[in-house]
Structure formats: structure tokens, C-alpha cells
């Protein structure tokens, strides 16, 4: 199984979730994050003093999937999250050795359905 981490624009969360549902992903965990990268932040002002806000609001998705789902999941995210502008985000994939569903104690693939 793999864990797919995706950092996306907050406004793309809706479409990404819809796209994931279509490819059969049934669960995920999301959290607020702030990104630093080529997109750059904004320059704000407070009483005449400017300051740079370096970190751009992002949403981080963590999705654990079985091997067979990795490619469709990644493709679905890319398609739904892409706007073509700087800051659309990154996806990265790591190996997961075990998954457990707390409620039932089921393990691995079974825990993911």
C-alpha cells in the first residue's frame, strides 16, 4: 500500500474530492497547510509598513491506497487540481507497511474498503 500526499490549492479541494470519488477512493484525511515555493506570497501593508506573507494557504491531502489505486488516484488529483498557474502543488508517494481500521481492527487492504 502507498500513502499519497498531495498539497493543493484550497479552492481545488471540491473538484479533487469529486474526482477521487469517481475513481473509487473512499477515504482521505485533509489538513490545513501553508506552502513555500516558487509561487511566492503576497506583500501586505500594515499602517504604512509593508510585510511579506511568505506562506500561501494550501490544503494537504493524505490518502492511503492499495497499489492498484495509486495511478488512478494520482491522475485524478492532477487533473482536478491543475489550474496551470504557479502554486498548484506537489504530490509525493511513500510506502506504507500496515494499515489498520480502528473500529474493527481490520488490516491492510481490508481496512481500506
Amino acid at each position: 500500500m502507498k500513502e499519497i500526499t498531495a498539497v493543493i490549492q484550497p479552492v481545488r479541494l471540491g473538484p479533487v474530492r469529486e474526482a477521487l470519488s469517481l475513481v473509487g477512493v473512499t477515504g482521505m484525511t485533509i489538513s490545513e497547510a501553508r506552502g513555500f515555493g516558487s509561487q511566492g506570497g503576497s506583500v501586505d501593508t500594515y499602517r504604512g509598513v509593508e510585510y511579506r506573507v511568505d506562506y500561501v494557504p494550501k490544503i494537504k491531502l493524505e490518502i492511503v491506497v492499495s497499489e492498484a489505486f495509486v495511478d488512478p488516484t494520482v491522475d485524478a488529483i492532477i487533473e482536478a487540481a491543475r489550474t496551470g498557474t504557479l502554486g498548484d502543488g506537489k504530490i509525493w508517494i511513500k510506502e506504507v507497511s500496515t494499515v489498520i481500521r480502528v473500529r474493527t481492527g481490520e488490516k491492510d487492504e481490508v481496512a481500506l474498503n
Binding site: P10, V11, R12, L13, G14, P15, R17, E18, A19, S21, L22, I30, S31, E32, A33, R34, S42, V43, D44, T45, Y46, P57, K58, I59, T83
Partner: protein, 445 residues
């Protein structure tokens, strides 16, 4: 020292002025609370600037158009910059008190609009409109009713609008309607299938604070409209005002519970204001019981109008200003023709044996307000839209107007990145759930 009743009059008018002034804080909190955190700085800047600009413009020209010498019956034409007021006399001083009371009224009419066009209107565009409403639109209509103009001459008693259900509230509400139509709904407010999407505000506590402050201010708004402290009328006005507000809140809560089986906080808050707006016209002309009834129906009108605007007319009004001020204001003005009782203010309405005469006058005034204000406001907004543009870009709406218009977040220390509410999946009772793709189109593009 000899007794001069004018001093108590001035004291009373200034007391009322202060209370009405504080309604600006009420509107600011209600509007900010009922919209998203990313637009909070923008909302409060609109509120601060409409009272600032409005105060100056009304002093320069608005007051003259409204209360200046009015030969035509259509507009006042003197007393610009208060040039007719004599500061050497006590009656001149009373005139200053009257002027400042009218100033805060004008500012109220102006600020009503800010809520309805919030979360997607450019700041500069809003400032220009504020000038138009406080310099011309509000004063001209006002002159017809309170400045000795043609509406004040209709029928036996003239058009009756004691404290401004129509003159202030409907005027604000219909201008808000024009603005909301011209600027269009917020990005993401309607799905491609045109179903409304709920976009809850960011702070119910601030919204409730705003409502309590408005209710407080309304004691000044209505009872101050006697512009005299030497009259017992102010007591019955306070009674009718409070009962109508209470009844409006109860009605909105009950009706929304019957419709949706929920104790809807936002509707209840709007219902209270609806009750207050409704009683404003007849506050000095009704019995307590009729006032409660007027407020009760006012609260229901608000619920109905919000649903009508949101679902049928597809007019996006984030804070409910059009329903509350436009519709409930119209209802309250009509109610005078129905429920007025000679025991209280000398005039009988239809249900108290006064016939339909006054009712027709009331309907005329309501219609005149709608036609004049909606059309002139629509033109002004359209002109602004075609020149500097009314609507913030989609990208700016996504980032929020705080950053895009003011380059500074309203809550720099607390800025949620996840829209915890998933605006993209409305579940409409009885409506088909729109497909994901359809929503996507509307919201993101």
C-alpha cells in the same frame, strides 16, 4: 432661569442621535459576522467609510435637497452646508440637532447597501455609490415624504412613515437590490444548475452582537423621530418598537422551524431586524397588540423574502439586507394603512374603520419608493460598472477582498486555509443534488 422646552427637545434628539449612530456598529458587526473571515476588513471599511463620506456629503448637499425650501414638491433647494441655520439662536441650535439626527439617518440608509453587495464588490465602486445615495437618492426621496414634498400631501394625512420604514429602510433595501443585481452573485453562490449554495458567515457571536446593538439603536431611531422630548409619544413608541422586534424574532424562529425543523439562528436574527423595520413606519400610530402583529408578520416576510430572493430570483444577498429592509419595510408601511388606530396617533387604518384611503396612500408611497430608488440606483450602479467596474475578479474573491482590496488580512493571526464548510455540495431539500462537474464549473471558473 425660565423654562424653555427646546432644551429637553435638543437633549432628546441628541440622545437619539447617539443611539442611531451606534447602529453603524450594529450593521458592521452583523454584516461582518454574516460573511466570511477573508472579507472582514473590507466589510468594516465599507461601514466606516459610508458613515464618514455620508456625513460629509449629507452636510454639503443631501440635507439641503431633503429639507431645504421645497417649492416643487420634488426636491429641496436651499440650506446646503447648513447655510440657513443661525447659530445665534436656540432655535438655530435645535436645527443643528435636527440636522445631526438626520445625518445619522442618512448614514443608516447608506450602510444597508454594503451588506447586500458584500464579498464581491470593489471598494472604490462602493465609495462612489455611497456618495450618490447620500447626496441624491436618499435625500430626494426623503424630501417627498419628510421635506414637505408631494407624498406628504397625498390623501387626508399624507403618506405616513413615522420613522422611515420606507424613507430609510426600503430606500436602502431597494438600492441594495439594484446593487446586488448589477454586481451579480458571489463566485460559487449558485451551481451551474442555478441552485443556491449556502455560504455561512464567519461569526455568529458578532452577528448577534450586531443585532442587539441595532435593537438598542432602534429605541433612538423610532422614539427620536418625534424630534421632541416634550411629548409622551416617545413612551408608546418604545413599547411598540420593542414588541415588534420580539415578535419578529419569535415569528422567524417559529416559521423556519415549521419549514425546516431547525432552530435557525441566522433567520431568527434577521427576523428581529425585520420586526424592527416593519414597526418603524407605524410605531407612533398603533396599539401594542397591533405593533406585535406588525412585527410578527414582518418576521415572516423576512423568511419568505429571503427564500424568494435566494432560490427563485437568484439574487445573492449575503446578509439578507434586501429582505429585511426592502420587503419588511414595505410591509410595515402598508401595515399603517391596515392597523393604525386613532386612539394612538389620530388616524384609523382599514381594520379600525378608517377605510381604504390611507391604505392606498401607503401603497402609493411604497411603489414610488421602489420605482424611484430601484431605477436610479440601477442606473448609478450600471454606470459605475461600465466605467471603473463593480465586481472583484474571481481570483480576488477567492483570496478574499481583505487581501485583494486592502492588502491586509482581517485576522492575520487566525486565517483558516481549509474552507471547513464544503461550499461545493449543497443538499437542497427537494432539489436534485447537482453533479460535481456542474458545481465545479460555477465555482472555480
Amino acid at each position: 432661569m425660565e423654562y424653555n422646552p427646546i432644551y429637553l427637545d435638543i437633549v432628546w434628539v441628541l440622545f437619539a442621535t447617539a443611539l442611531v449612530f451606534l447602529m453603524q456598529a450594529g450593521f458592521a458587526m452583523l454584516e461582518a459576522g454574516a460573511t466570511r473571515a477573508k472579507n472582514a476588513a473590507n466589510i468594516i471599511m465599507k461601514n466606516v467609510m459610508d458613515v464618514s463620506i455620508g456625513s460629509l456629503v449629507f452636510w454639503m448637499v443631501g440635507f439641503g435637497f431633503m429639507f431645504g425650501a421645497n417649492k416643487s414638491g420634488w426636491i429641496g433647494t436651499s440650506n446646503f452646508f447648513l447655510s440657513d441655520i443661525d447659530p445665534a439662536t436656540d432655535s438655530g441650535m435645535f436645527d443643528f440637532a435636527f440636522f445631526i439626527f438626520q445625518t445619522v439617518f442618512a448614514a443608516t440608509a447608506a450602510t444597508i447597501i454594503s451588506g447586500a453587495v458584500s464579498e464581491r464588490t470593489k471598494f472604490a465602486a462602493y465609495l462612489i455609490y455611497t456618495v450618490a445615495v447620500t447626496a441624491f437618492i436618499y435625500p430626494i426621496f426623503g424630501s417627498w415624504v419628510w421635506g414637505g414634498g408631494w407624498l406628504s400631501e397625498l390623501g387626508d394625512n399624507g403618506f405616513m412613515d413615522f420613522a422611515g420604514s420606507t424613507v430609510v429602510h426600503s430606500v436602502g433595501g431597494w438600492a441594495a437590490l439594484a446593487g446586488a443585481i448589477v454586481v451579480g452573485p458571489r463566485l460559487g453562490k449558485y451551481t451551474a444548475g442555478k441552485s443556491p449554495v449556502a455560504i455561512p458567515g464567519h461569526s455568529i457571536t458578532l452577528a448577534a452582537l450586531g443585532v442587539f446593538i441595532l435593537w438598542f439603536g432602534w429605541f433612538g431611531f423610532n422614539a427620536g423621530s418625534t424630534v421632541s422630548g416634550n411629548t409622551g409619544l416617545i413612551a408608546i413608541i418604545a413599547v411598540t418598537t420593542n414588541l415588534a422586534a420580539a415578535a419578529g424574532g419569535v415569528a422567524a424562529l417559529t416559521l423556519s422551524y415549521l419549514l425546516w425543523k431547525r432552530f435557525d439562528a441566522s433567520m431568527t436574527l434577521n427576523g428581529v431586524i425585520g420586526g424592527l423595520v416593519a414597526i418603524t413606519a407605524g410605531t407612533a400610530n398603533m396599539s401594542p397588540a397591533m405593533a406585535a402583529l406588525t412585527g410578527l408578520i414582518g418576521g415572516m416576510v423576512v423568511v419568505g423574502a429571503i427564500v424568494l430572493l435566494d432560490r427563485k430570483l437568484k439574487v445573492d444577498d449575503p446578509v439578507g439586507a434586501i429582505a429585511v429592509h426592502g420587503f419588511a419595510g414595505a410591509w410595515g408601511t402598508i401595515a399603517v394603512g391596515l392597523f393604525a388606530s386613532a386612539t394612538y396617533g389620530g388616524v384609523d387604518g382599514l381594520f379600525f374603520g378608517g377605510g381604504v384611503g390611507q391604505l392606498l396612500v401607503q401603497l402609493t408611497g411604497v411603489a414610488a419608493a421602489f420605482l424611484f430608488v430601484f431605477s436610479t440606483s440601477f442606473i448609478v450602479f450600471k454606470v459605475i460598472d461600465m466605467t471603473i467596474g463593480m465586481r472583484a475578479s474571481d481570483e480576488d474573491q477567492i483570496r478574499g477582498l481583505d487581501i485583494s482590496e486592502h492588502q491586509a488580512a482581517g485576522y492575520p493571526d487566525f486565517a483558516p486555509a481549509i474552507p471547513l464548510v464544503s461550499y461545493s455540495t449543497p443538499v437542497l431539500s427537494g432539489a436534485a443534488v447537482p453533479s460535481g462537474a456542474a458545481i465545479d464549473e460555477t465555482i472555480e471558473s
